[in-house]
Assembly symmetry: C2
Homo-oligomer: 297 residues x 2
């Protein structure tokens, strides 16, 4: 496995792959890898000749009061996991390597960033857009793999790729969960024992909402949101940041008072939640397709 | 010569070139080609295996009161000129092909866009950044050629390429001029006979300023600007949009009252002018390097 710490090393490795006409699958991460990341690497491994993993805790996507400084890191374990998934190249730059000077260029994606984490974390998706754009230019992947836990991130990146005619296929991959339903996240290590138990309420409430949809497609978005809110407030001590039901992938607002079965027929929508447990903010979501029944996708 | 009118045709042509490991030189233009564009094509021809020319009058870089609708076009002549310069591929998309949907992504380059045309034409460089970024992703050039008449454009694109780690070398090329000094521009065709004569004042005043520098390196930026302003006001009926003396390529402000020889030692600076003749706005500039004497570069 080729460990590249500089852009120059990475570019050489990419050029070598291109010389041999090898396809490149790319998994950008912030490290502290878990089974969710592993699933992306395996998907990339199955689809491409060369698998590139990047591990970079991107300061530009953290707000001033967020957890940049305490974001968990374990390079040695990450490298072992990457190798076990058949990764060919790991790009492990420092912040100085990625940003030798303060960048003067900003990339903003409008509309899809208006709500959810875009509203809760101002500037977050500008940082994501910038670093993903840089990484795409450095790695030049044929395909790039992203987990659907960050469903808004997937929507933002797909929009950016389309608008900028970037030559890469975005492959969204399913959320990987603990046996009790908690969506895998590097931030789960922050949770106290109590919060760890309570945190299952996010996925459980989304599951229960799905059952409500099956029972009654005439439920409205407002009723759906109220249901999830009740579930989380009843079962946890967490502080709700947002619970929203939106069109996907446009992430635009849905009329709250018209039944889902009626107003969203043949469309996809997302129910997304963000809850703070102490200082740890967790997110989860479920994607649905409205047809004869409301199916989870 | 391969004329591509769709992104798909262009991508196929680019993929074919890459398969054969051919280097790609790219000249993005808005068409109505003149000897300035031809010089870029010849430079690209000399340096690369494949030369790609794009002709696209990009609506996104025109302001609401600018000359988008009357921007001159002559596709047939452009294609003949391109062929005569050894162009391999011409990309000739419609606005609908380039922007099938309203883009939600914006690219902004701060600081270098603050002054000159960035100040006079709000949003202009956002449009330039967006379209150049799209074109770079479609053409995937090794080198891209830009004329220094649009010196600020070169600075903006170089900054964007650096910040986004774009895998392309920007090659700035000298301004090409009419025998009487007028910088070539597709917009020169708009000029009345009187304005055409007066318009030589832009390059003449920059030449005369250079002679003043040779005579006296203790001249200040404020005195230099006043000199050019006087020249243009005396010799033309044009309306001055701006005359500025700035660091290059940062395009940041220079202390107006300290002598150039002293405050800019070993540095490069630009004197840039924009003048409106009737409804036609012309720009010109000169780049200088401060050493033992102030040399034009």
């Amino acid at each position: 496995m080729n460990i590249c710490r500089t852009k120059q090393q990475l570019k050489l490795a990419v050029r070598e792959a291109q010389k041999q006409h090898l396809t490149i699958g790319f998994v950008p991460t912030m490290g502290y890898l878990h089974e969710g990341h592993a699933s992306l690497l395996r998907e990339a491994r199955a689809d491409n000749d060369i698998v590139v993993l990047s591990i970079f805790v991107n300061p530009m996507q953290f707000g001033p009061n967020e957890d940049l400084d305490r974001y968990p890191r374990d390079e040695e374990r990450d490298i072992a996991l990457a190798a076990s998934c058949g990764t060919d190249i790991v790009f492990l730059p420092t912040a100085e390597e990625m940003y030798p000077k303060k960048p003067l260029t900003t990339i903003k994606v409008e509309e899809v960033t208006k709500r959810l984490c875009g509203a809760s974390r101002p500037g977050h998706f500008d940082g994501v857009g910038l670093v993903v754009s840089k990484l795409f230019h450095l790695v030049q992947p044929n395909k790039a793999y992203f987990g659907m836990k960050d469903a808004q991130q997937v929507a933002v990146i797909e929009q950016m790729v389309q608008d900028l005619d970037m030559n890469v296929e975005i492959v969204p991959c399913p959320i990987i969960r603990e046996p009790d339903g908690l969506a895998l996240s590097s931030r789960n290590v922050y949770l106290s024992a109590l919060h760890r138990v309570e945190a299952t309420s996010l996925s459980l409430s989304l599951n229960r909402l799905h059952h409500k949809f099956i029972d009654n497609a005439n439920i409205t978005p407002d009723e759906s949101i109220a249901f999830v809110r009740d579930e989380i407030l009843t079962n946890t001590t967490g502080e709700i940041d947002y619970i929203e039901l939106l069109h996907y992938p446009s992430l635009t607002v849905v009329d709250g008072q018209v039944s889902i079965g009626e107003s969203l027929d043949n469309q996809r929508f997302i129910v997304a939640v963000a809850v703070k447990f102490g200082t740890t903010r967790l997110i989860d979501n479920a994607l649905f397709q409205v047809g004869e029944v409301i199916e989870r996708v």
